[in-house]
Every structure is written in structure tokens, then in C-alpha cells.
Symmetry: D2
Subunit: 162 residues, 4 copies
């Protein structure tokens, strides 16, 4: 079983630009993180985009969904900014069926040392291996069906919708 990993950016992959003092994207850290976790799950990684999820347009979401639909693998992990992760999950659910798609992200950039990213990646990759077909969000150690979850911005965590 091979898992397709689609990288879209988000806090996960942000870095500090020491010249400007701003955060920016240089490259994804997913391969490095899998190495640190000594992951031996077969994966193929593709960077679809590297962007802040607050700046994603419908066209961006359509592109991500298209990548899910076209992937040969039927188990897919999408790394994504947390702010609009649920919107993108909905777009994927519209376009894809009969595949297991798990979205995950991070609250703190991996490059900053005290990130939740490595925990989330281990968690999401595990859920992606055994959940049945459907679109899910894996955050805070939990999994949620895409249409029963929201981000609680106040608390910085995901929760089931009532």
C-alpha cells in the first residue's frame, strides 16, 4: 500500500526569513519529518502548492481536489493550513469518492522546534492507512469526518460540530 502525500503549505511548512523578519515558504519539510520519524510506510510526495490557507481561492481548492481525484493511490494525505482546512476538505469530498483522504496541518511551524507537526503527521499517516473511504481531518490526535468538524479559533483546536 502506497500513500500519496499532497503538500499545500500552511503553518506546517513556514520558515523565518532572517533578512525580512517575515515568515515565508521555502520548501516542504514533509520528507525530512518522515525521516525523523523513521517512517517506512511507502509514500509518494507531491507539492501541489505552498501557500497560507487564508489566501487559497476556489481555484486552488479545485486543484487540490483534482490532484486527489487523479491520484493512482486510493489513500491520500493532504498537508494544509488549519484556517481553511475544512473548506478544502469539503471541496475534496465533492470531487472524490471511494478514496480515503486525510487532511492535517500544524499550529506551529515545524522549523520552529516546538511544533505539533510531527505528532500530527504520525497521527494522520496512521489514520490514512486504516480509515474507510471518505474525507477526514486529523488534528489534535483525533480524526473527524469532514462534515462534522470545525476549527475553534479561540482555542486553536478542532472540535466536532454540534
Amino acid at each position: 500500500m502506497t500513500i500519496r502525500i499532497l503538500v499545500t503549505g500552511g503553518t506546517f511548512d513556514k520558515e523565518y526569513d532572517e533578512r525580512t523578519g517575515q515568515l515565508f515558504f521555502k520548501d516542504t519539510h514533509v520528507a525530512e519529518m518522515l525521516g525523523l520519524g523513521r517512517c517506512r510506510v511507502e509514500v509518494t510526495i507531491r507539492t501541489v502548492m505552498l501557500m497560507d490557507s487564508l489566501e487559497m481561492t476556489d481555484a486552488d481548492r479545485a486543484l487540490i481536489a483534482h490532484n486527489c481525484a487523479q491520484a493512482q493511490e486510493d489513500r491520500i494525505l493532504v498537508t494544509h493550513g488549519t484556517d481553511t482546512m475544512v473548506e478544502t476538505a469539503a471541496a475534496i469530498a465533492d470531487a472524490v469518492s471511494e478514496k480515503t483522504v486525510v487532511l492535517t496541518g500544524a499550529m506551529i511551524p515545524y522549523a520552529f522546534g516546538s511544533s505539533d507537526g510531527l505528532f500530527n503527521l504520525g497521527s494522520a499517516l496512521s489514520f490514512a492507512q486504516i480509515l474507510p473511504a471518505g474525507v477526514y481531518i486529523a488534528m489534535n490526535g483525533k480524526w473527524f469526518p469532514w462534515n462534522r468538524v470545525r476549527k475553534n479559533r479561540e482555542r486553536g483546536e478542532f472540535e466536532e460540530t454540534p
Copy 2:
């Protein structure tokens, strides 16, 4: 659903003693790691022992298995040294049925910064939530039934037995 976490030590929880220059156990890092991962899964953590798994006796394994059998929760995560993780899994399988028990550990101490521990914890906790009753090892991003896995000491990773 509450997950019972049983801590037994292993590389996961080793620290550097600056007075002696040796590695030792002070306390478990599991709660701190779950905090870093912003885990919101309900867990109860119990430290059964803190030891190097090479030094575990049959009595130690019996105690771990007993803790699994007596736990109210039917989903259990055991942190454990990697060297004899499979032996302890076998002892648990002897004593427990109708529960999902997942063992995990680390190759590098969590306290040393570049550990696989956080990835493994996220992975194991996720498998513990959805695998059916049985005893499993979760390492390298994968899950293995306890009787179909061994540690490849040369490569420092777990693999399916032929």
C-alpha cells in the same frame, strides 16, 4: 472513548545525567509530548515502571500484562523500549483479549531533540483508536500484529516476519 496509556520506560523517556554523564530515567515525557501535539484525545496515563527493556524480567512483563488486563479502558497504549517490545507484546497477548493494545517506543530519547518519539506517539495513539481488538506494535509509521513482527537490530527498524 478514553485511551489508557501505560508507561514502562525505554529510550522514549531516557535523559542525560550531567553529573555522571550517563543516561537515566527521571520521569516520563508522555504528558509533555501530548501537550506539544495539542492532543485532545481523552487519556489516563499510568507509569507502571521506568526501565530499559533489555533489563525486563518475566515478572516485569507479567506486571505490564496484568495492568492491561485490569484496565477499565478497552483501548490501551504501552510505551516500551524497542529491544524487547515484541516479547512484552506476546506476554500481553497471552493475558488479554477483547482489548486493543498498541505498543510503541523510540530509537532516540525524546529529550534529545531529534527524536522519532513524537511521530511514533501520534501514530500509535491513532492506531489505538481504530484497530480492532488485538495486540499490535506501532513503529516506523506502520502497525504490525504482535506475532508477525520483529525488530531488525541492524537497521534499527521493525519489519514483518516472513
Copy 3:
């Protein structure tokens, strides 16, 4: 001998705000950094301000210079953003004589794990103990008299002026 440490902010003390995704100041890390370095030099730490040095006004610099002039200690370390460190050094040189004042900072926030801050702090604190009276910048492992140094923004380092 006691060293007075005046904290003014700068990259040194920036942190990541996970709610907004922006960098911000919460509190200084200087005491924590001295603890990590097991520093036993007697110091008194005072936070004068916590700001990006690009936003400092003449009034801010006057306040820093005033703090240097009023300090009982005649050896002073100032943590400061790198972008206008030289301007503040000039303001201090105008206001203070017969004291050793060393300014230092960082290119990467200490909280981000791969910072130059701890190295710079160890370096600056050492120079502050033995340089004769004067105003200096300690960066890149070197010390520079305030009027013979500039920041090379292209290279992100300090260099002697020609």
C-alpha cells in the same frame, strides 16, 4: 562585578503567535538563555522595552541611553534588534562615558530553535566583562567599536566600516 542587562526586544525575543500566525513579543528569553548557558556571572536584568528595532524612535533610543547612563553598574549589555543597532549604539555613545556598553542581538528568534542568540549572548557577556570603557557591538563572534561598524543587510552580518 555585576553586569546590567537591558532588554529592548529585537529578533532575539520574538515568538510565533499561533492564533494570528504573526511574530510578536511576549516576554524576554534572556533569563532562560542564561540558565541554559549555566551562567554564573552576576547580572541584573531590566526590560526597557520589547520592540522591533525598525520601529524605534529617537525617544526610544534616548530612553535606552538614559538607562545606560543611570545604571549603577559600569558594565552593561543591551539586547537589541540588529537593523538599527548601530544607531542606538551612537545614541548611547553620546550619553554615556566611562562605562563599557555592549550591544548584541540575533538574526533568528531564540524561540525558533536554530538561533544564533545563545552564541551571541555568551559572546557579548564575555566582551562586556573585559573590554575597556566604550560602546561596542558584539555580533558574529566579534566585537566592534560603535563607530566602526555597519550591518551588511545583504549578508546578514556585521562588518567593519572601511
Copy 4:
């Protein structure tokens, strides 16, 4: 001015061997640490040995002293285990005059993330640039003449002898 850096091992450079669970030496981290500190001081690094200072013999100390004496540079930094740093300093003082030699080390391995090593390196390199000829130990942010210092093993720090 070029500083000669002589590497001899010590906690500074210890690493964790994940196969054996023991600490060992692989290579020195000094160049990497100078890179992290964005050090622009001209240095030449030579690894004389990589060993625990508790295991050093008189012949080892003679070799280190010889390297100090033969070095073209008259400013030298020696990285060294803390346990017998004072003994080696004495051996160097016997063999070398008219040079500034500064010894430093660490209580926690640099590779373990929360080390004092980067602070100590910044400090020692700074002292090495301006102290007059003599043999010194730079630890805990301070500098000590070699014959007026001892390691307080109980507290894990260096202190002036009475």
C-alpha cells in the same frame, strides 16, 4: 587575527548511538556550532582527539599541550571534557607561554538540544580574542586563570579556588 581551535572531545561532542543506546563520539560539532552562531572570526579547527576527559592519560595531555605549543596562532581555544579540564590546563601552562589559551566544554552534549555548549563556545571564543597571554578556563560565562579554578562536581559548575 586567526584563532586556532583544538578539539579534544568531552560532553560537547558526544552523541547518542541508537543501536547500542550508549553515548559515543562520531565527529566534532564545533564547525556546525560556529555556523549556527554565524561566527565570522577567522578560525582553523583541528581535531586532536575525541575522548572523554576522564579517560585522558598524561600522554594525551602532553599531546594537547604540544599542539598548543606548535600552533602558529598565538590565540588558541581548546574544547575539552569538564572533568579533567583543569589538569589539562595545567599541562598546557607548563608547556606554553606567550600565548592565550582558553579551554571550554559543556555539561550537556550539543546534539541533545538543550546544551550549554553554544553559549560556552561564544563566550570562550570572545575571551580568547582579548585576554592577555596565559591559560584560562571559560565556563559559566566567566573566565578563570588555570591555577585559580576547580570544578565543583556537586553543583556542576566551575568556581574560583579559595
